[in-house]
């Protein structure tokens, strides 16, 4: 007998192929909203492409590329209100751009510079999470806390397909379900965990099936379709605000880029598949949609892209203008009231380095 909480297996799509598959539309999204979404995607894309260049120029350190995931990221965040919280993984390092964070802040993070620190409360955006899946319980706790306070804010957390294998994902998802926390569990199924394919990560036919075990609704969307992601996230958020607890969204994408600038994917990835996916990448798909809708002309497109490029140019300049951090920072911020031994350690360190 089938479970009574069936996960939706069909890929939700809105954008057509400009041919046999017709375009759909998302109720409530006006022209301005559609263009805002586009601006966000372009900004994310520009940040990513510039970062790869900056890395090759030695201007930032190792960088986790997200090329091709812009629709998934922008679609989700646009479905949130500003007081909703975002818990990103390193793969969504630039998501703050969609919350008004200066590119320089994120570039500084990748430059190993403390100017990359921010106060999560300033953007309702948690710090970039490096250990896989460990941000999921944080998001569950925040969402639970908001419910306890009677606030309407929700939380959304991004994590990958590989992350679903971690105990931290499991414990966080279950906590959210049990506490009826308004949380969107957004799984970016790009089908690779570094060199490990999804088939070596799980036997589930679809990651959305995991929702069933937590007794929460799950839905599956084409992660390259920004409007589908937007709609699915909006539905999940409204469920959360209505006190119905968390929702699991599997956004199906593909990692067309190496895991990070340090990684050589050729060793393991199927290059033909990569080419196919690249040809069908999400920004181009959305541009086609907007053009068919007559909302985007090449002039506006150029203008938006120029804006983004300018923002990044200014961003890297600002990041590089940051003065080198003082080593005193080593001893700051670990505690509100650092022990006296820290002063002694710092004094000694300065003496040694100066002499």
């Amino acid at each position: 007998m089938a479970s009574t909480v069936p996960a939706e297996r069909d890929l939700r799509r809105v954008i057509g192929d400009g041919d046999s598959v017709p375009d759909g539309e998302v109720e409530g999204l006006g022209e301005q909203d559609l263009l805002d979404l586009y601006r966000s995607m372009v900004l994310l894309r520009t940040y990513d492409e510039r970062s790869v260049v900056y890395h090759s120029q030695g201007r930032i350190g190792t960088y986790a590329i997200y090329w091709g995931h812009e629709a998934m990221q922008a679609g989700a965040v646009h479905a949130l209100e500003d007081d909703d919280w975002i818990f990103p993984s390193y793969r969504e390092s630039a998501i703050g751009l969609l919350r008004g964070m200066p590119p320089a802040t994120i570039l500084s993070w990748w430059r190993g510079h403390p100017a990359g620190w921010w106060n999560p409360a300033d953007y309702n955006l948690a710090s970039i999470c490096v250990p896989i899946a460990t941000q999921v319980p944080h998001a569950a706790g925040l969402a639970w806390g908001k419910r306890l306070r009677g606030e309407t804010a929700c939380a959304l957390t991004f994590f990958g397909d590989g992350a679903t294998s971690e105990g931290a994902f499991h414990e966080g998802a279950n906590f959210a379900a049990v506490m009826r926390a308004p949380l969107v569990l957004l799984c970016n199924n790009n089908q690779w965990a570094i060199s490990t394919p999804l088939s070596a990560q799980t036997r589930a036919e679809a990651l959305v099936d995991k929702a069933v075990g937590y007794g929460i609704p799950g839905t599956r969307v084409d992660g390259g379709d920004v409007l589908a992601v937007y709609e699915a996230t909006r539905d999940a958020v409204s469920r959360g605000r209505a006190g119905q607890g968390p929702t699991f969204i599997e956004a199906v994408t593909y990692r067309v880029a190496p895991h990070a600038t340090a990684d050589d994917a050729k060793a393991y990835i199927d290059l033909e598949r990569v080419e196919e996916e690249r040809a069908n990448e999400c920004v181009g798909r959305y541009e086609g949609y907007l053009r068919r809708l007559g909302v985007l002309g090449s002039e506006l497109e150029q203008e938006i892209k120029a804006e983004a490029t300018a923002a990044l140019r200014a961003g890297i300049a600002a990041a590089e203008a940051e003065p080198p951090p003082d080593i005193g920072l080593i001893f700051e911020h670990a505690f509100a009231d650092p022990p006296a031994s820290f002063d002694h350690d710092l004094a000694e360190l300065r003496r040694v380095l100066d002499g």
């Binding site: 999560p120 319980p137 569950a140 806390g145 906590f175 670990a334 509100a336």
Partner: protein, 322 residues
């Protein structure tokens, strides 16, 4: 002032602090409906409601991880780990996030998390109910650690932990939960972290301990025909280094007592501090009386494993005869 057992003092502190600050929230396994397997949280659910004394799913990393998020929502979570050895699943969250998140925000966001748990051996329990895990916590940057030995300190240190802007781990000596009894101040009572307690003054030798080893050292002091000082550290991080060095300077002979396995135990840290800063004061080697570098034994022989009055006395005599 009221006469209380140590575990009752813990319960008292929780009542007072939850009453004082509506943002304080207790979460853990079985802390609510049953009031905790040691009854440390008894009465909280009835008094403050199921939303402020929460029976969580059985998942320690989930408990501590969601506490991080609760802090972001403005709460001061007090997490109970049901037993010492069952806190290990939360070490990953502790090391990678709880100890680092404030730093990660440039000090702009605080994480006033308290983690409290019963710890230590001697209770005739099946395996993994007997560990002394302080090293795992003390070694972790960004984490404070306190271990009370008296009911008054159990209340005062827990209150200090709950009010502290940073994460604090409180290890409660379960062996003496219902044997150590003493005067506990009514209402608000805070014992500042980082201040040791001179349990007994002396001039010939110093016994340094914390938690359940303090009464052992006091009995050892009684058994010795010498003037023995007993220093109850109370707070391991921050450490009251001044009190340690002052006592070592007074007596020149120091025995460090810990229940945990020896290698890299907290006594090693204390010995290292003495070897660096008190070398010229020392009139004899620094001895450690500790648990051994083996799995905590079956309880039929656990008394031989635990640092005992006899072992402490023996070490002290060796130093006095040095």
């Amino acid at each position: 002032m009221a006469d209380k057992y140590l575990v009752e003092a813990v319960n008292d502190a929780l009542h007072v602090e939850m009453d004082r600050d509506p943002d304080v929230l207790v979460l853990g396994e079985d802390v609510g409906r049953s009031g905790g397997v040691f009854r440390a949280t008894a009465g909280l659910r009835d008094r403050f409601g199921a939303d402020r004394c929460v029976d969580t799913p059985l998942a320690e990393a989930g408990i501590l991880g969601s506490a991080v998020g609760l802090c972001m929502a403005g709460f001061r979570p007090v997490c109970e780990m049901q037993y010492d050895a069952f806190s290990y699943p939360c070490l990953d969250q502790l090391i990678t996030h709880v100890g680092r998140y404030r730093w990660r925000t440039g000090g702009k966001m605080t994480f006033p998390i308290t983690i409290r748990m019963p710890y230590g051996g001697g209770v005739r329990a099946p395996e993994l109910h007997d560990d002394s895990p302080e090293t795992y916590y003390v070694h972790t940057p960004g984490i404070k650690v306190a271990i009370p030995s008296t009911p008054a300190d159990a209340k005062g240190l827990l209150a200090a932990a709950i009010r502290d802007p940073d994460p604090v781990v409180i290890l409660e000596p379960k062996l003496v939960y219902r044997t150590e009894r003493g005067e506990v101040p009514d209402g608000e009572h805070v014992v500042q972290l980082g201040k040791a307690r001179l349990a007994r003054e002396g001039s010939d030798l110093t016994l340094v301990a914390y938690g359940a080893m303090v009464p052992v050292c006091e009995r050892a002091a009684d058994a010795l025909d010498a003037s023995v000082e007993v220093l109850d550290l109370r707070s391991l991080k921050p450490l009251d280094e001044g009190a340690l060095l002052a006592s070592a300077a007074r007596t020149g002979r120091v025995v460090l007592v810990q229940e945990a396995p020896r290698t890299c135990g907290y006594a090693a840290e204390l010995a290292a501090i003495l070897a660096e800063k008190a070398l010229l004061d020392l009139q004899a080697p620094v001895l450690r009386v500790t648990g051994y570098d083996v799995p905590y034994p079956y309880w039929t022989i656990e008394d031989a494993y635990m640092p005992s009055v006899a072992r402490v006395v023996d070490a002290a005599r060796r130093l006095l005869d040095f």
